[in-house]
């Protein structure tokens, strides 16, 4: 069992090279962007029949097909673009994680039915 106070503590692990935080910032911000895009599309689809129809990329799945495919593409593209932009850089982790949390929180609000159904046109 490796977990023990009597054992030699990890002075520094094997690969003790300090790595830049940029690539981590890129993937977390990209996740936030993906969540935000999903939220925006969900709300737009509810507010506009035109957008809802356009997002119906699969008849069987309905508008959810377009929403999720675009959100995943946004995640991947943001990851690549931010990965290139932030390569070798060291943005402050607390700022990156805070922005990620904000983006995800806004995405969650925009995908909450009580919120987006309030924007639906009167029938």
């Amino acid at each position: 069992m490796e977990e023990s106070s009597s054992m030699q503590p990890a002075s520094m692990p094997v690969t003790g090279v300090d790595k830049p935080f940029g690539p981590v910032a890129a993937v977390f911000l990209a996740a936030g962007v993906g969540a935000l895009v999903l939220g925006i599309l969900t709300t737009l689809a509810e507010a506009s029949e035109g957008v809802k129809s356009w997002l119906e990329w699969s008849t069987a799945v309905g508008p959810l097909s377009g929403k999720t495919i675009i959100a995943v593409i946004a995640f991947v593209v943001a990851w690549v673009v931010l990965g290139i932009a932030l390569r070798g850089r060291n943005p402050k982790p607390s700022i990156v994680f805070t922005w990620t949390a904000v983006l995800v929180a806004v995405g969650l609000v925009l995908t909450f039915p009580t919120f987006f159904q309030a924007l639906a046109p009167e029938e």
């Binding site: 490796e2 990890a10 692990p13 993937v27 799945v61 999720t68 995800v104 995908t111």
Partner: protein, 170 residues
């Protein structure tokens, strides 16, 4: 005891992948929590990191597989326009309509946020490798986002279970 083809897929989506997700989360969270200087020997860090990398990627892959099978395999049967589809049955009765209007409408969207966060955590664990133990602030943030991913998936999973109870896919 018999399950139809569609019921098998519902089981794979909700119970098979869901159970894998839960197991991977428990292992991953325990691994992240204990990745602290003073708790592990150097050899322990190497071993724990390898297990953490596997656990977080298993959770991320399980999350992607869950939302993909849910959206592209099970959901079309749920939302079919047939009179006996789960969606039609739920909406036909005012006392069950909210399971679709609120439950499914929320579940089908937020579930997709879970794999995004799980992937970010798995990538970070792999990127830092054994040096993650030197980045305690990042480790704590990973625990928070890992847990957020799990809770989001938990909401979707719980709603899915209730909806399936009210109107299962046959």
């Amino acid at each position: 005891m018999h399950l139809t083809y569609r019921e098998w897929w519902a089981v794979v989506h909700g119970m098979g992948l869901g159970a894998l997700f839960l197991l991977a989360f428990a292992g991953g969270l325990a691994g992240l929590y204990s990745l602290r200087p003073g708790l592990l020997s150097e050899r322990g860090v190497v071993e724990r990191t390898r297990r953490l990398q596997i656990g977080t990627w298993v959770m991320a892959i399980a999350a992607w597989a869950t939302v993909i099978t849910g959206t592209w395999v099970v959901y079309p049967w749920y939302r079919s326009t047939a009179a006996d589809s789960p969606k039609s049955l739920l909406l036909a009765n005012p006392s069950t309509a909210d399971w679709h209007e609120f439950g499914m409408e929320w579940k089908e969207h937020i579930a997709w946020i879970a794999p995004l966060l799980a992937t970010a955590v798995a990538f970070t664990v792999t990127y830092y490798g054994t040096s993650l133990i030197k980045n305690q602030g990042v480790r704590r943030a990973l625990m928070a986002f890992f847990t957020a991913s799990f809770l989001i998936a938990g909401v979707a999973g719980a709603l899915g279970a209730f909806i399936t109870k009210a109107a299962p896919v046959h």
